[in-house]
Symmetry: C2
Subunit: 188 residues, 2 copies
Amino acid sequence: MALTPLALSALALLAERPMHPYEMYQLLLERREDRFVKVRPGSLYHSVQRLHTDQLVEVVGTDRDGNRPARTTYAITDEGRSAVVARVRELLQQPVREYPHFPLALTEAHNIPADEAVADLSQYVAALDDDIAQIDTALEAARRSGKPETYLVGADYLLATTIAQRDWLTTLITRIQTKDFIWQPHAL
Amino acid sequence: MALTPLALSALALLAERPMHPYEMYQLLLERREDRFVKVRPGSLYHSVQRLHTDQLVEVVGTDRDGNRPARTTYAITDEGRSAVVARVRELLQQPVREYPHFPLALTEAHNIPADEAVADLSQYVAALDDDIAQIDTALEAARRSGKPETYLVGADYLLATTIAQRDWLTTLITRIQTKDFIWQPHAL
DNA sequence: TGCCGACTATTCCACGTGGAATATGCACGC
DNA sequence: GCGTGCATATTCCACGTGGAATAGTCGGCA
């Protein structure tokens, strides 16, 4: 079974050094990797468990700090290292068929009247603008702090594609408003 | 619980006329809606089942054609109609946090050497070019056949965003090749 | 006539996710 | 010194998905 996004992130962390799951959780949040993967403590523990049964990681010890629940520390195996490389290359080689919600909403949008659609889409654009501003400032800050570009390339991609969405949408909205685009609602 | 993409598609079909699940399946494929939602017969039956327990659809009859398995025909309820409108508006109002695989792959790309990355990404660009060509011709054909633009807007969005991805990627690749972008691999 | 493969139509099971629940330790104010 | 809430650390359960299995029917071909 192919490495899921969360499994890949977790395994990549263990490629740096051995860790226990909660430490991964903290690191992922600290590095703001939760922008790229959906990180939930529950899923993370399950993912690591699965990595273990697949022999991509191994247990290197279980600390017990006082009466706290025992922390199991994991380390990556050789098999795990090659799995990371293989999976990353796979993902860089060809797009994964994905199904974003928005285009579906657009194709079903004929179920609502034009003026409501325009109102909703304007809100959507505003939200995208916020996203863009956020990524932009984060990226700017990271660059100034001298972080190597290799680590910012994901955010840069997100920025570019979000801007493209925003621009497409704003032209759609004006086209509807100027009746250049004829909105034909399908009566429910 | 919010309508999942497949549930929304199914419910939108039933807003046109009563149908049995397999008929929905065929219609979705025929209309190429499988470009926007992941359609599997299994998931579809489950989705409709759930719509039923949520009272968004009701059973209007069970035909039996010879010895074939009995087909259960469903119809949308008033509650179902408002659910469609509500969900579509919700989706048009603000983006859903989504986690595409590619930006994650980019952030983990430092695990592989520059030349391999360039090779992989070039393949990726080629695949995007294919996608673009496909959507483009399909869109052109649909426009010539006089289909109202309201039904093509989803594909148009997909086209625009895919082009944006392709363009961003091609500049990244040349930046790596010209050493404008310094690739710092992290030794595994 | 008899067989093969494709289509019709549905059911079932395994998997990954995500939210909730749990339980302890620590810092801080009152 | 005492409780309140937050951080630590993990487990558990319910849900939706997706692939496989099932099973009958129809058309074509030898």
